[in-house]
Symmetry: D2
Subunit: 335 residues, 4 copies
Amino acid sequence: MIQSDAKSGASGDTDDGGAAKPVRLLSRDQLGEIDEARRATTETRRVSVPALEDILYEPIPVLDRGFVRVIDYMGDDGAVVQAARVSYGKGTRKLREDEGLIRYLLRHRHTTPFEMCEIKFHVKLPIFVARQWIRHRTANVNEYSARYSILDNEFHVPAPRDLAAQSTGNRQGRGDVLTGAEAARALEILKGDAERAYQHYEELLNEREDGTVIDPDRHGLARELARMNLSLNFYTQWYWKVDLHNLMHFLSLRADPHAQYEIRVYADAMLDVLNRWVPATAKAFADYRMGGAQLSATGLAVVKRLLAGEDVARESTDLGPREWRELMATLGRDD
Amino acid sequence: MIQSDAKSGASGDTDDGGAAKPVRLLSRDQLGEIDEARRATTETRRVSVPALEDILYEPIPVLDRGFVRVIDYMGDDGAVVQAARVSYGKGTRKLREDEGLIRYLLRHRHTTPFEMCEIKFHVKLPIFVARQWIRHRTANVNEYSARYSILDNEFHVPAPRDLAAQSTGNRQGRGDVLTGAEAARALEILKGDAERAYQHYEELLNEREDGTVIDPDRHGLARELARMNLSLNFYTQWYWKVDLHNLMHFLSLRADPHAQYEIRVYADAMLDVLNRWVPATAKAFADYRMGGAQLSATGLAVVKRLLAGEDVARESTDLGPREWRELMATLGRDD
Amino acid sequence: MIQSDAKSGASGDTDDGGAAKPVRLLSRDQLGEIDEARRATTETRRVSVPALEDILYEPIPVLDRGFVRVIDYMGDDGAVVQAARVSYGKGTRKLREDEGLIRYLLRHRHTTPFEMCEIKFHVKLPIFVARQWIRHRTANVNEYSARYSILDNEFHVPAPRDLAAQSTGNRQGRGDVLTGAEAARALEILKGDAERAYQHYEELLNEREDGTVIDPDRHGLARELARMNLSLNFYTQWYWKVDLHNLMHFLSLRADPHAQYEIRVYADAMLDVLNRWVPATAKAFADYRMGGAQLSATGLAVVKRLLAGEDVARESTDLGPREWRELMATLGRDD
Amino acid sequence: MIQSDAKSGASGDTDDGGAAKPVRLLSRDQLGEIDEARRATTETRRVSVPALEDILYEPIPVLDRGFVRVIDYMGDDGAVVQAARVSYGKGTRKLREDEGLIRYLLRHRHTTPFEMCEIKFHVKLPIFVARQWIRHRTANVNEYSARYSILDNEFHVPAPRDLAAQSTGNRQGRGDVLTGAEAARALEILKGDAERAYQHYEELLNEREDGTVIDPDRHGLARELARMNLSLNFYTQWYWKVDLHNLMHFLSLRADPHAQYEIRVYADAMLDVLNRWVPATAKAFADYRMGGAQLSATGLAVVKRLLAGEDVARESTDLGPREWRELMATLGRDD
């Protein structure tokens, strides 16, 4: 179980500045389909992962109306070991040995055994997030088609605490959070424009969200055209399938502090899934990828001088001010 | 040279129902950069294609404000032959022999020699088109980043002749063109919403398109957030690089009558580029892929019965009504 | 169950011209590991396919000492439908509707829903077959490493009925089967050279297949070097994971009469697996890909003339003699 | 120019333990084709790289009979910058600014702009090296086909200085070089078996390397079968095309001390090509990838304790003996 909120389909409140109103994440029909899928179990000779079975099909809430659901998976930590050894059986010898091999593989970038595990997600996400996400090409995707179907009237509006100003130092970063009138006006614009866009989308289609016709004397614009009136904060959804190696690559880039907050929250939710699915791999990943550091040759030379007891000044190195700052931060000397 | 319009950067009129107004496709600075690039030539030992050099860097207008530009290329028809033979020289023996080999390779799906040629485009296209395009994963892409930069105030509005109604027979198709009041209202909505979206985008950023600050007492929302207010008809741009095999795959799907019109016009422009670049390959492609037909085993059995002089009724076959119609259309018997 | 031979691990005889001797395909230890894996079942909420579970982990014999084993799988026919609809539940409405959708997707080359299913094989195959196979890049592979480990003394020798002469008409094809003294000499060479190569491999390593040292006073050449003395008919093995779309692409090329016999027998074994795993998809695949025909524009024009009752002579068409022959064969008029 | 040896096609001697005999790397015809290709220059509007044009088409000798030749290329350092900025012109502002941007992109793993450059090689290499190489899937390959053609009588025999023993400490590594009688015997085996394999290959084919028939009364085994008698040290050749990002990934793994020597020499030759082609990228690559170090979270914690002046014992850390040794070596404290 994820949490009771998820089970009941309510995503809590959208933290929209006071008038907290519980939103229903999924319709009754959808919840019914999910419950039915969860209840139907079968026997299998394949490897299973109980901790992942626990949350199979359940929506993990992300942002105001998004979610991540695990739909299917193949393999576990043992499958990585099995493939690395090209063995005949299920591949697990002793837990400790297997963990050591997994650490070795990850440390030395022997990535192909991790490609032997696969996971499939159902994700609901704003279009501007989907556009970043899709740049990861080594995955399989089936997106809800707005050429065939009418999109739901669901759009993302940032919670007030996420209404960040443009950073002044970093061209692609965020600065402080907007407050007061400026924040209120921003929310007003984002909501107002999205609501109008959807009303006009229905008018263009000559059809309401529920499928009823608005004006029997009009034809309605083709769906593939009308969708162009929706803004980038509208939600779309897709099935996304990826192997374990490429999932970790995705997470190392998107669960990173440099990633945009709105995609990072999806990556964070998937990090939790990773821990349930392949705990030994997830632990090695946290050590070697997420928590580690890449030093350049120039940076490594500085570390060696520091270790030799030298009092190194930036000007005596080949590092620019920015790289120097980054190195000092990595070494915990950024006071 | 493509055409004088392209050279002067004017895309003609947007055919917006009367008030035709010439739009400048590119700024004076951009045209200057392109002219400079076109004037700078060097000597090379590499294979060159004069017909493609003629249009290098020039914008080929597509839709109301989009374009396709060829930025670079590698190889020609001879490079396909050279790779197929793994030869030491430039690979061309006799033109006729080479054409025969290219036809053979394409007919028998020996696709790897076509991967040995590469082409790079600069494309300006509406976001809803970009979202279809990006599903072709075997290509390299660098898109203009709205996290770093402010998007231009340029959005697509269909020409009146392209304002198609939803098809009644085909869930993802188009029907007749809207006319009269319904058409006028659709254009009014699309333009009005996009204009308002852009004004609000500037207000959210607290910055105008030209980079000037609107209100020095406000902070402005982060660019990565403000962009979510723009609608899917806004233009984005990217560098897109692809090999010849995957370009043909893209064209076979997107220059197809089933493709959405707004991406098909890009594919059509690139078909012209294909003819300039690799004429022998383009000819074989037209014969085997674009102009041919794939028959199913069931369909082939029907053709054999027809050839034997039988008067075949659909009910006597294993084809459903839809497949039967498609087959008859392929065979030119759809009267 | 595959067949009793497979279960007992005996691949029957190698049909080597008389002296039929049963060969043990797998060692007692390996069979034990497989049995253990087969006996361990768990409950899962995932979709399962009983017909595939039946043969899970079992070796399907191919060639004289090769095999294909299904190790794991994800999804079924319903998962294709589920992805195409981006639905919340398990995706199956009515069997007939689902089959219709699968046929539609395959006919119109909507390939992404088929990428949502995945299968993992353990394959034992001669190195010269592995070199063809690996050219399919959209798959995941872990091969047994001859840098770390010593290869088994197992090599492929063709059955006498497969000792084909070089084709005289087709540069890459096969002609009649060799017989008599020429056949006997060919087998003698292939066996003799492979046996000597393995003895010398052991001598170079200074280590026998069973791991015992030959001469304690020598060092033994590095494994990564000694392996270069083995010939291309030695067996290697790998884990090979692929999605359903790319598996069908592999099968359409390798279960084809133009494919080399020694890889085709692997593809044929996997076609049987396809039928167990996703019967509706396999049926549509047989109709649209394996049993159908691709007509060129030129070929289609000929078909139309024939259908109109014309007595078409090749000289009156744009088809060369070879393409004409191929077309007539396709139409069943090659008498 | 690479070196006069390369120009004359002679690879010097094979250093085979005394009987040094100059080998001709390429035939007179092949050298003629290369010279012709080098003499034919054209004018182009594309970006050119003079330092790379200097060696275009020329064979760079590798191992005893292998080579690497640059056949074509697309883009330069400026093209990386141009793509990162999605700019209209050729992309170079000021050299210093461009170098800074390239360093930034590489440091922050913004890899897509590097995919905008492409290079094509013609490589001649032993089959056992080709089998490692082909595991890099994000590249395009056309290999010489032994189904169609007869392979040359050329095989690799290690130089005596490369006859390494198996490492005792590292299961996949090399130890000391074999000497005396053991070395002589190893060379004798490798040469003798390869020579016999080729003679038998000709006998199986009933055809000599020069295309003449051996015995007009025999048929000859099909080429696709006869090749299985050749050993893994025979040379094959292919066209290999890759983008700059994936080339650097290949080089970071294969120009690494952990890579097998026989593939590393190819990677080293290509590192020289990288320096000619994209000097700014090559410099950043040397700093951030080849010369740098990846620290794990655990390793980084140790570095911080050392920098704080602590005298850290391995037992007080979470590092195993092997990782500890690797870390101390990285930090230059492995005395």
